[in-house]
Symmetry: C2
Subunit: 638 residues, 2 copies
Amino acid sequence: MPTVTFLPGFRKAVVPKGSTILDAAQRANLAMNVVCGGQGKCGKCVVYVRQGSVSFDREKFRHFFTDEELAEGACLACQTHVYSDVRVEVPEHTLIQEQKILVETPVLAVPFHPSVRKYFLRLESPTLDDPTPDLNRLLEGVERRGGPAASTIYVPLEVLRDLPQMLRRANWAITGTVALVPGGYRLIRVEEGDSEERLFGAAVDLGTTTIVTYLWSLADGQTVSSASNYNRQIACGEDILSRVNFAKKDRLVRLQQLAVESINDALTAAADAAGVDLEDVVEVVVAGNTVMTHLLLGIDPAYMIAEPYVPAVRRMLSTAAGRIGIATNPNAGVYTFPAVSNFIGGDVIADILASGMAEHDDLSLLIDIGTNFEVVLGSSEWMLSCAGAAGPALEGGEVLFGMRANPGAIERVQVDPDTLAPTYETINGVRPRGICGSGLIDLLAELIRACVIDRTGQIDMAIRHPRIRQGRYFPEFVVAWKEETDIGKDIVITENDIKNLIMSKAAVHGACMTLMNAAGITHHDISAIYFSGAFGNYLSKENAVTIGLIPEVPLERVKNIGNGAITGANIALISRGKRKILDDIAQRITYVELNAEPSFMDQYTSSCFLPHTDLALFPEVQKMLETCRLRREEKWQP
Amino acid sequence: MPTVTFLPGFRKAVVPKGSTILDAAQRANLAMNVVCGGQGKCGKCVVYVRQGSVSFDREKFRHFFTDEELAEGACLACQTHVYSDVRVEVPEHTLIQEQKILVETPVLAVPFHPSVRKYFLRLESPTLDDPTPDLNRLLEGVERRGGPAASTIYVPLEVLRDLPQMLRRANWAITGTVALVPGGYRLIRVEEGDSEERLFGAAVDLGTTTIVTYLWSLADGQTVSSASNYNRQIACGEDILSRVNFAKKDRLVRLQQLAVESINDALTAAADAAGVDLEDVVEVVVAGNTVMTHLLLGIDPAYMIAEPYVPAVRRMLSTAAGRIGIATNPNAGVYTFPAVSNFIGGDVIADILASGMAEHDDLSLLIDIGTNFEVVLGSSEWMLSCAGAAGPALEGGEVLFGMRANPGAIERVQVDPDTLAPTYETINGVRPRGICGSGLIDLLAELIRACVIDRTGQIDMAIRHPRIRQGRYFPEFVVAWKEETDIGKDIVITENDIKNLIMSKAAVHGACMTLMNAAGITHHDISAIYFSGAFGNYLSKENAVTIGLIPEVPLERVKNIGNGAITGANIALISRGKRKILDDIAQRITYVELNAEPSFMDQYTSSCFLPHTDLALFPEVQKMLETCRLRREEKWQP
């Protein structure tokens, strides 16, 4: 079988003849950009073949490469098949870049009451007068120490088989691990001697892009370490749709393995950091969106992406770690968060748990924004939810100099209303390469404050200023001069970029309004707006209100809950009471399908202004805009 | 690796160099007599090496073979190692003979209420307005058909993974199989279309020697077929002790596999006979003694055979068939009967269930006799149990012409009190080769009736009769003359045989008396004596009382329940209510250790008479003996 060697770095993979270079890259654990999931459509997985024989359809590549590039050996990894040993050069931009992953130290306001407990027992050894069977002796010991009744504890065969030798080797001093499971309890493990202190659990945020994990001591309720890494499935497509399409071609098993490997990477890193043996991790709670959860468990998500968009399962599921390949103790219970629908998944339920909104009487709004967004409105009494596509603009896509939150991204901007000179901060403080989501929101708000753009997003070309100019296709505002940047070009924001941003923010705000109208409430009734996710974390609350991304409420009511998925997973790991209510929460949430809701289009259209068509909804922004307008008129009066 | 070819029949096995011929025979599925479990002690696994090179310790074989036999190539399979291709001749007597296995058609007086049910569902296909997830749709359908609440049904990953495709392939007309399991319910299986009628369960009696299985339709409560075969573990030792010793040498896995293969043989035969697909068998209930149950589940029974005799587990266990290799649907639940102690195992609990004694207010006595015996005394209020070694005499061992219940065994005997001429029946009606247990009991009773023996078992040599004579070592009675037999020798019973039989029966009767005394009751209080097992089935009740094997009660109170193990397993298979009380029954039974009970030795000694030292306990037998004595004195008065 041919060997594919990747340069630089000399990673190698041996693959069957006819495999694609992408297959080989995946085998070599090289994470390439494959936005389209390997369909040859996105043109991101560019590589250069340096040695060996490959086969591809030259016509297909015309769209992506010049003749010169083709002559140099350029091809798309996903469309190029290898038939002999091959050397392939991988340009840096083809590989997935390191990104800011949100890992915080959790401070959870929930009582520590885990579902799993260890019991160190010094048992009496059996005698002719007391020949109680080994298992009974053990379980009665657990009961005497305040554990659950023996008859309610299920004992898997694997544990039972080791028991007789174990008890005698340990001279009847052993530690039993008992977990609360659906329908009763389960004896997870029996160890020699006193190991009560070695009891760990893991909370996992299984994101489409990143995995975050926290390792907890379930003996004392302390976090011992955390770790994060990319989801290896990225190599099979960046977005959910691509993953589901990738899975269709009998490659569900591959995606399942990649999800497991990604989690195992994070668990191993966290365990190594804390000096914890993964065998001592006896419970894992995973919060992921509906597709991620399906893929982790090896359930085909195919029917979720076509009408009528039906997931296979919604409830919390549990299985033994060993059965799906999670590298903890094989008997560890793996719990996946329940979902409401395809689009309101376990990650959103985790957000809700993290915010506490399902347990409060006051009304709250929860917003999680990525390429897709989810909105939940409600309280302990009722909850409405919806989801939609925000488009990539808020994440830096569909914007000329937009980029992800990678090093060199402008993440904070202020524009001096007098000089129009921008002040910005970049990630890692390096020279700017582009603008990420939070920077774009700032820019939009600052430009409207400075009256550079009007409420429709149009740039006021009447202002004579070197930073305001006609670009190749659209009017544009220069954020950073070529000389300041790392890319040898002026970094600008165009009127078209601004339109795209407005459409994205209008989708989110329109969704909020649709739910509020359906519930018959206004922004006055909302006691809290929770922002979840990396985006919300780096966002300026004030600017989010200024551009009308979210309803106007007093700013102190806007709260960032950070990575709600991992916080929710942490809570469900350490609190059996909170884990128990998850299915209830999921069942209580009504899902509103925005595409089927005629009022959504009206709300969306009304939201396609800065901040909104109806300024009465944004009284404070209205006042601010008025002030700005007056100052502008003073200063720029022609 | 050397190939061992067995003659006649040319079965072959390839084994590593240095393996024993016994190892090869086991691999070739040739069931040899290995009473000692392969320790070279019993001398039963005789074979003749005809070709090839083997190695053994000639000195060890002197005890079993003459120089002539050794010159012919005789050796013990368990002590002979092969180093090249070998041809081995296996004499007929080395192979396990076909034996009478008890298979009856059960008539069970329990309501049919199985733990597993099928639900044929025509589900609405999902729409945009009703995108209920696949699993919820299915479980809600089950609930609407009167099944358990969705939230109480656990769904294993294997079933969930197939669900989305299955539902659509079936156009939403499917059949779900739901089983009651500890702690709730379990979705065992989902099939296309209406398969409600194809719902089967298996009851298994996992005996040390034989496996019996019944296949039931759990759709309508009818038996569809039955089958039986040898326990393949016999090749690793005939009795329990040998098996446990065999397991010690890292061969627990082998014994586990043999138990599973033996059950699978029986299940396959039964399924084939009924035209049932084993995939449609979704529940298996297994009754076996404590060691057999441990071995089936792969739990080391080592600690059960040495002081203080502790089993690993006593409770009913359940596991999925696929996890231990049972050839039914892999998701089928396999349930093993609970035990009381090492010696009162699941087979005895099954006997108790079959007898109904644990559910009656009246006192009953249950007796199961083999090489070991078990006795249970009690009612719905309390139960005492004990067990002991009856020795092999009642099964034809330790008796000069004793044999198992194989063809040619004398199983019924009458002795004319006037002429002393025996009339006998043999198994299969062929010429006699020996006497089996029921024949020996008859003979003992008839000889005492004919006053050939006295109450101590001594043969009255004063009687001048050609059938009564001095044998080589002991006085003896000729049961069949050489000319009538198949073995070219007179078949006799010696005084020594009779002593051994009396000691065996005394152990059983002494055990009954020990329990009765412990409970403070007499034979008058016993409303029923249940005989379980093959032995009890072929036994003459009257003769059992006459010799004092069991307490004297009116004969109509003595009942054969036949193979109580399989009957109990059948009951627990078809009645969820009865299965539920098994753990309760087992827990309610007090085990009396006879070796620790000083009164047992007294009771045993008092029972070492025919029928007993104290004739007041056997008033009817006493009357009969008096009549016989008078007639004898009339006839044989010297």
